[in-house]
């Protein structure tokens, strides 16, 4: 994954953050990656208006986007069955990378969390992860979004909660896999590039 180029040309990227300077910074980083269609808004109303007006390919959204917050906005986007953008990748930008925040972002349907202060490397790697590691979507009464299970480690009690889950016997790893540290690093704070 680390060496596979991503092609951001003509992808419509929406950056939602209350700080105009941060939006400018993120745009500069994304332009460096080859992106050429960049939008920005300062609040969640702006995001919702933009989503009605056009197709957005990916959203980078601050966790404290006023007035509702990025997590609530993400939940609203995922739960809106009328909007064609409801399956777009959503990356939450947050300076708070405690487990509760990461879990909260995951549970509202965000794909990834980007730790602030941002670094070009962390943004690139997460975009590449989203591009090259598609996850199936889950639609239930209480959740709509990408599968929250990154790595099957067996189910608590031996039985999965979903109807289609079978008993899983987790074999010993025999080949190269993504280390848990690598998975964790995709979610945990990464303040340097």
């Amino acid at each position: 994954m680390a060496n596979t180029p991503i092609n951001l040309r003509d992808l419509v990227i929406l950056v939602a953050d209350p700080s105009p300077y941060l939006c400018m910074l993120v745009h500069g980083i994304l332009r460096g990656f080859g992106a050429n269609k960049l939008l920005e808004v300062r609040h969640s109303f702006g995001v919702l208006e933009t989503l009605v007006g056009q197709k957005i390919d990916i959203l980078l959204c601050d966790s404290r986007l006023p007035p509702h917050g990025g997590l609530q906005l993400t939940r609203a986007i995922r739960r809106n069955t009328e909007n064609e953008n409801r399956t777009m990748p959503i990356l939450i930008m947050s300076s708070d990378t405690r487990e509760a925040t990461i879990t909260g972002a995951r549970d509202v349907g965000a794909n990834m969390v980007l730790a602030k202060p941002l670094s070009p490397a962390s943004i690139y790697d997460r975009l590449a992860w989203v591009a090259f590691h598609p996850r199936q979507f889950i639609d239930t009464e209480t959740y709509f979004g990408p599968d929250r299970r990154f790595k099957i480690e067996g189910y608590a009690g031996g039985v999965g909660r979903r109807k289609g889950d079978k008993v899983v016997e987790v074999a010993e790893e025999v080949g190269p896999t993504l280390a848990q540290d690598d998975i964790d690093s995709l979610f945990s704070a990464s303040r340097t590039g």
């Binding site: 460096g32 990748p89 941002l118 670094s119 979903r162 109807k163």
Partner: protein, 169 residues
């Protein structure tokens, strides 16, 4: 006892436009992309420093007005917003210490329950620290190179968080 399986979940794959286009040939290799992005950041640094100076002055004005009893309503939210900006941008633009100081202040402000008075001394000492962190000689310093400053501010945060007037975080 195993959990009862919940109602059936509908699972499906979505090949989003982002994934389709991002995987096209002709993408920018990681090393080139990072270098280009860093170049863009570096080119914006002079402008950032002007913006930073203006922001610090604005922050100082808000705090001074509050000290003088002339603060507008919502001044504390204004301080919080400006501090978060500094925290979010500092390290990326080469001001690691600035991010540390701003983050310390943000955590103090976030821990202060709504309606509780904020300690002006705490805010002003962080403001002084921000101006210090802005100085060129402190710009590239790592936190361990200024232990008095970092320990002092961490102590302020701990002290504020156990104050009887402020609920613990």
């Amino acid at each position: 006892m195993p959990k009862t399986p919940s109602p059936e979940a509908h699972t499906f794959y979505v090949d989003t436009r982002f994934q389709r286009l991002a995987r096209r040939p002709g993408g920018v290799p990681r090393e080139v992309a990072l270098e280009s992005a860093q170049n863009n950041i570096d080119q914006s640094k002079p402008e950032f420093e002007s913006w930073l100076d203006a922001e610090l002055q604005n922050l100082a004005t808000v705090v001074r007005n509050a000290e003088a009893g002339m603060a507008e309503s919502g001044w504390l939210e204004d301080v919080g917003f400006r501090s978060r900006q500094l925290r979010d941008l500092g390290t990326t633009m080469g001001f690691v210490l600035l991010t540390f100081v701003a983050n310390n202040l943000c955590e103090i402000l976030d821990a202060t329950p709504a309606g509780h008075a904020s300690d002006m001394e705490t805010i002003t000492c962080h403001l002084d620290a921000l101006f210090l962190a802005r100085q060129e000689q402190y710009r590239h310093m790592r936190l361990e190179e200024v232990p008095e400053l970092t320990k002092g501010l961490r102590l302020v945060k701990e002290t504020v968080s156990i104050s009887p007037d402020v609920a613990p975080k």
